[in-house]
């Protein structure tokens, strides 16, 4: 017997849509800037600069809305990490993806009303949205107004450190995105999760 639950409220879906679009724009334009080359440019440098600035601003706004949303609504509770036994739970989920999944084992943390994300999803969403994204925003905005960056930090150029941190976080988010997209295909059917992030409804057992 399967039951339909309304899983992703409208506002999280709208947020997620904006988030996905701007993140992709940022990643493409960002990579184009980082690997810029006079012989071949993936996106024209000037266009890439404007694209990156615009999407960065838009993503910050949408992120702030999501952040306030998570403070004032139920959705925030899925983002509270319980440390007790976390390692064990992570291991179980990892083992399932790598092994159990192929033996048709039952998912160790089936989705339900109270349990929206499995431990791996939860920790990667927390790291992505509460650590990497905020750091990206702070460093990104700083790079947009470089006159406010410390000239020197521990003897190293401040703007350089800022840019380096920005790039490391950007790589992290890119990795997150790849894994995120792939793991999303491991729902009931390869496309079911994508349907539910659009419609909001999710089938559970």
């Amino acid at each position: 017997m399967s039951e339909n639950i309304y899983f992703y409220p409208l506002w999280t879906r709208i947020w997620h849509g904006f988030n996905a679009v701007f993140c992709l724009l940022l990643i493409f334009s960002g990579f184009s800037l980082q690997y810029s080359n006079p012989e071949f440019s993936f996106i024209n440098f000037r266009l890439a600069v404007s694209m990156h600035n615009f999407s960065g601003i838009a993503l910050t706004i949408s992120y702030l809305l999501f952040f306030t949303g998570n403070i004032f609504t139920e959705n925030g509770k899925y983002y509270r990490l319980k440390f007790k036994g976390l390692r064990m739970r992570l291991w179980k989920q990892l083992r399932y993806y790598a092994y159990g999944f192929f033996l048709n084992e039952k998912s160790p943390f089936p989705v339900s009303k109270t349990n929206k994300f499995n431990p791996l999803q939860q920790i990667s969403y927390i790291v992505a949205t509460y650590l990497a994204l905020p750091l990206l925003f702070v460093t990104g905005w700083a790079l947009m107004f470089p006159e406010f960056i410390l000239k020197q930090f521990l003897g190293i150029s401040g703007i350089f450190l800022t840019a380096q941190l920005h790039v490391v976080m950007a790589f992290l988010i890119t990795l997150f995105l790849i894994i995120h997209l792939y793991v999303s295909t491991m729902g009931k059917s390869p496309l079911s999760n994508f349907k539910s992030i659009i419609t909001g409804w999710q089938k559970v057992h």
Partner: protein, 333 residues
Amino acid sequence: MRSKFASLLFIFFFILFGLVSQNGNCKTPKTPVQSANNPEDSPSYEDNQFCLRCHASGYFVLTSEISGKQKKQAMPDNFRIFPEKFYNGVHWQFGCTDCHSSEYHTFPHAAELRFDVPFACIDCHGGDEATAKYHFEEIQVEYEKSVHAKLPNDEFNCWKCHDPHSYAPLARRDTLTTDFVVSSNQMCLKCHGNFDVFQLLSEKKELTEVVKNHSWLPNQALHFRSVRCLECHSAQNQDILISHNIMPKDSAVHDCVRCHSGNSLLMGTLYKFRTVESRKSYGFVNAAIIDNNSYVIGANHSRFMNISGIIIIIMTLLAIAIHTIFRIRKSKN
């Protein structure tokens, strides 16, 4: 668990920091304190006082030849000489009348003196052993190709950019600083940012509207503080440190990627002096720029990071591909 997480985080930042601090400035020599010359050490100090009595001051005293009455008159700004700058310039040991006619001792100065043709740099420095490293002859050749040398009446000369009463070369100091960029740009802006001066040579007012002319360049103020006008406007020349061939505007660098990329032209221009041995050192591309507290998008990535970033992404995709293969096989069973 919490401490595990914290220590992981710590290790992460530690590695990041180590990566970054390989570029520590410990190897960069400190800016030598530019020894301020003592004006009184100049052999011409006493003689110069005669001229500077008027030319260093905001006013001069005019005496009526008929009544003997005296009157203070304002010294026009463009005729003022600042002794602190003069005695810190390269020609600080010179007397005023080494370059100017000694007839300037009389005042009012004779009008005809204004038609004197000043010495050219090459007159003294051509073939001069002591300043051979600057390659004056080569500079002269390059200058003669520049747009400025083509102005009618030979009105333009080296002194138009090199202030005769203060010039000191900054490019050869150990560290590049913003004031080097600013002072170089100031050389251009004293004309191209000021029509009052510019009109003595040309009526093309539009050439003095620098901000408007470069509105296509984002972060303009930052760019003009970090790169010189020369970077975009002069042809590169391997033999001399400062390229002197200013090209017509159509040949100026317009393409962002010429600077914002791994083989940034900046390394051959602004950072030339420092680049020779440091190019690609520390695993950072164009490290000399970073030593200067600058960061140029696309030109200052860490090779290690750029390559390992791609490798990690490829490995992730590979893992996904393998996982997918197993999934397909599973669904077939």
